[in-house]
């Protein structure tokens, strides 16, 4: 599965340049069955989200109706059509996580970040979303922050978990 982390060069590349890149990548997927979801994942990794222009390009190149592309994008909570923060916090609300307190963890995250599900913090560092089973039910409740899995999360631990990422950000700010 493609990494959630933004492509490093994407910071410098403009959206137009990224579209040209995406167009080139799409060459390998023309006419291949089941190409839509992998292509959407690649695009989301490149742009950090799925801008309208990228979806229109994908629709055109894969010869799929725009409505169908949009239908797939809106079906999966993994895909976003609005820019997201650097770190995507996803709280599992699958059955196991739900019964072991996932919902309380989600509430704690909402309070701590002061945003609702689907939103992004003002400093563009965190976005919050829910997920449906990451396949780690034995570690419930689970949250994922980009590709990191955090297990047996308790509402009280939420501040500490977020803080490790906040500290990382502060360090990189200082380096710059």
């Amino acid at each position: 599965m493609p990494s959630l982390e933004k492509n490093h060069c994407s910071e410098e590349m403009s959206e137009e340049q990224l579209l040209i890149e995406l167009d080139k990548i799409l060459d390998d997927y023309i006419g291949k069955p089941g190409a839509l979801i992998p292509v959407l994942q690649i695009a989301q990794r490149m742009f950090g989200y799925l801008p309208d222009a990228s979806l229109k390009l994908i629709s055109k190149r894969l010869d799929k109706p725009y409505s169908e592309v949009a239908g797939v994008v809106s079906f999966y909570s993994f895909f976003s059509t609005v820019p997201r923060g650097k770190y995507l916090v996803r709280v599992c609300l699958g059955t196991a996580c739900y019964v072991r307190g996932g919902k309380e963890v989600l509430e704690a995250l909402k309070n701590e970040l002061n945003i609702d599900v689907g939103e992004t913090t003002e400093d563009k560092i965190f976005s919050l979303d829910i997920g449906r089973c990451f396949g780690a039910c034995g570690l419930a409740p689970v949250i994922m922050i980009n590709d990191d899995v955090h297990q047996r999360v308790k509402p009280a631990k939420v501040y500490d978990i977020l803080n490790t990422y906040r500290l990382k950000e502060e360090k990189s700010e200082v380096k710059k």
């Binding site: 799929k64 109706p65 725009y66 409505s67 169908e68 239908g71 809106s74």
Partner: protein
Amino acid sequence: MAKIQINDKKIEVKDGLTILESADIAGINIPTLCHVKGGKPRGACRVCVVEVEGARNLQASCSTPIKDGMVIKTNTRRVRKARQTVVELILSEHDGDCKTCDRNNDCELQELARELSISNIRYEGSKTKRRIDDSTPALIRDSGKCIKCGRCVTVCSEIQSVGSIFQQHRGFATVVGPAFDKNLEDVVCVQCGQCAAICPVGAIIEKTHIDYVWDALDNPKKYVVVQTAPAIRAALGECFGNPPGTLVTGKMTTALRLLGFDSIFDTNFAADLTIMEEGTELLTRLKKAIVDKKNVALPMFTSCSPAWIKFAEHFYPDMLDNISTCKSPQQMFGAVAKTYFAKKINKDPKDIVVVSVMPCTAKKYEAQRPEMNDSGEKDVDYVLTTRELAKMIKQAGIDFNILSDSEMDSPLGLSSGAADIFANTGGVMEAAVRTAYEIVTGKPLPLNNLHIEPIAGLQGVKKASLKIEETLSEWSFLKGVELKVAVAHGLGNARKILDAIKENKENFHFVEIMSCPGGCIGGGGQPRFTTDDVRLKRIQAIYKEDEGKKLRKSHENPDIIKLYEEFLGKPLGEKSHHLLHTEYTQRCKA
């Protein structure tokens, strides 16, 4: 072959069929809300569940293939209870009030609830969120009534290859509609209305003009003329309980008179006019290509179907020069009614209201295109679908089935059999060839009963060729030319032939395209429910109407000849060019 048993019937059916298809062969009815005969299984509504011996759960019969030795029960207590539960659950979400719904008494969900004797909805759940999209000139979508069966998605993407709508979001929040909850007006939609024709409930309907028409009829200052498309007479009867294929031309004319229209005219008249213009245009293009060696766009495409025009404007903007510049018969009629006819009755065109009755929703869109006002006024004011006309007749308390027959009025009411067949796939081509062949050779088309058989019927893409042996001296350049024609109906089939032409895999002189499967007789505004059986019966009725006429060719229509003598001059002349021809607009794809 597989031997199976359904209820007490033992039958042998082809491998690969589904339980639903096998039951149909056995004459056993299994209800369904999402499946369309001949279409791919969807398994969306779960109404078609049956018991299969050895299977733990009930199986959706539309998507379960049969196996040799299978024993199926379609009518057990368990099956009946499950179907009731499914329909109750659908009803519990369905935000609609049957009494005031456009589909009252014409609704598959309502009918099913009645068949299953549902008297109580035991589930008090949330209702589907209502959002009304009335952004387009032809269609209204109401998400509250949608049962998410997906039929409209199938017809829009697979049959029409347009893809305006798709399932968005998921679970209870699923909405069937354009991308990202946009309005239909803001995405590519050709307004063909096949979605409205196939919707089992009232979630997609035509935008009605009934009230405007009543207002015009009630206004003593207005002279209201009505035109009826060729396809109406073979379908309107179905709205009054007649079997498909019942011809009701005379009764329809009487009903229109009783409704209070001042003149009852015929779009067929304008269809004959279209043939004069379009036939001449084809011959002119051929002459330019063969004699003058000029670069003209060939093949020429027909231009009667407004959804096809919009489809080409969006998806084939580089081929617009290939489309005949002729307006559709509806629009030709409007332009002639508000000029030639207005002068005849000494009326200001402002005081004339032109109402069309069309089998089509896209005609509502076409009538309001900004360029459609060459008479100086809006050429066609209001467009009713076949279904809307039936409603008006019912509103007026007219007992349609006991009406006597009457004739249409003069001078825009007389038509040839060639105009009748505009209603079905292959018809415009045949009508054009009947006239063009005779102009070129001076002899009638040498075919059985004037029919070009290879282009009749429901095959998606049809082709024919005709060698021109002898010609009149004026057309000697066509001597020995093999005229190649093609016919496609349903925009998915149109796409196939367009792509083949674009890639130089096929070449033709003339191509007929109708947007809806079967042609206008299967239009988005026709009585529901249009299956292939119904299409064939309506087509039979249309051919019967054609063959029953003395006049079989457009150029022999004396009122058309008179129109040219008194008013238009000649086909493709200056006046024709101004009133009867149009231009097209390149539009974006998404």
